[in-house]
Subunit: 243 residues, 2 copies
């Protein structure tokens, strides 16, 4: 457990989160006020900070403003598996239980800026946004199961990058087909159930195939549409209204 630093959040830091939540449901001024208010108390945590620990109580849900975090499980022999990722605008630690215990450990993969997720009034747009976010979360988790179970290495990497691309787009964090990718190839391997070496080789092949560019923490997908079609990817759709 590490201590937060008090943050002087610049506007560009919190915009993605608001943008993302707005994309999930229409937020009115009251909702936005709640969010802005909560964001007045941002906290910054360093890499490897543990937000939640498997089996320990969940204090309060957090809204991720900046950075990446992930649900992770470490096996006794050291094998590691990332189960899902949290990007700006995602909510960490929602539960509908009275005394919830964390169903997984959540760890900061980069420096992370967070704030408490403001409780949403029943029926509000914000409540709806939370619900959609939760449903999306599950949809991505289901997608991850399919990835691991039935896609080969090449397909897993493409599918993963497409998912991230799509999610970051909702938060306005993509420029053209490109976005920041703070994960190392080793982390990617631990998300995709592969070894770092093999991930490296498949990425190089994708590069040779002109599918993507990947340099110094930034990924450019040459033709997301085509790639998506080639691996039969279809994006989660969990609400009748949004998008």
């Amino acid at each position: 457990m590490t201590r937060p630093m008090t943050a002087v959040a610049s506007d560009e830091g919190i915009a993605p989160a608001i943008l993302r939540l707005s994309a999930l449901a229409s937020l009115d001024n009251a909702d936005l006020a709640l969010l802005r208010n909560a964001m007045d108390a941002p906290r910054i945590y360093p890499v490897r900070h543990t937000f939640l620990t498997l089996g320990r109580p969940i204090a309060e849900p957090l809204l991720l403003l900046q950075g990446w975090a992930a649900r992770v499980r470490i096996l006794p022999d050291g094998r590691r598996q990332f189960m899902s990722f949290y990007l700006p605008g995602d909510v960490i630690g929602v539960s509908h239980q009275a005394m919830p215990l964390a169903s997984a450990t959540v760890m900061a993969l980069t420096e992370c800026t967070v704030c408490p997720a403001p409780p949403a009034p029943a029926g509000s747009g914000l409540a709806q946004a939370y619900a959609v976010a939760e449903a999306l979360d599950e949809a991505y988790l289901l997608g991850h199961v399919v990835q691991l179970g039935r896609l080969n290495a090449q397909e897993r990497i493409s599918d993963f990058l497409l998912e991230i691309y799509e999610r970051l787009s909702l938060a306005g964090l993509t420029v053209g087909g490109s976005f920041e990718m703070p994960l190392t190839q080793e982390m990617l391997a631990d998300a995709l159930g592969l070894t770092p070496v093999h991930v490296n080789r498949m990425i190089q092949q994708a590069r040779r195939d002109g599918e993507l560019m990947w340099k110094s923490g930034r990924v450019l997908l040459r033709d997301p549409e085509r790639t998506a079609r080639s691996i039969g990817r279809h994006s989660p759709q969990v609400t009748g209204t949004a998008r």
Copy 2:
């Protein structure tokens, strides 16, 4: 879509579901009355019935009384992946959205008896039971990701059978270390991200190792504790109170 048959549910049909829910939270007489009442209108669906279809609206949550169902995804080229299983006492199609769309297709793997899941009064034991059930569901899904990502074939099979054993125990559906396993090896393969042939070989090896017996739809785990230890399995724990 197939038509339900009207059922004359015998008591042994609904007991497992009540047992399971009671194991998740303490239900009072009002809760039990709600359940018993809902169970008065059981419906029986044949194998391969589709309860929910990916992207289509969810009508009402269902309580599974008898049989097995699963969330499944079929890829364009025919590859199939089971993402999670529903056993007696599980609730199919919970959502916190206003107009929820199914995040996956749910299909009956055996003949299934279901009834509408009675709406739970806020704060009731039943509501708590639903919440815990939902959390458990997610915990098992996370476990599935780890299985697929970081366990080898042998470990996946053991882990899967242990999970099923544990879940059926909650519903009182195990006798000693044995329980009914209606899945074919092919379905198991589609759950574990393997081929049927390889599943077969690994099962035979487990048999030779004296780890399990598997005959005519019934599995006996010789020493669940030892097996669990050997693969470092630890059971989900998502509530401070129950169990």
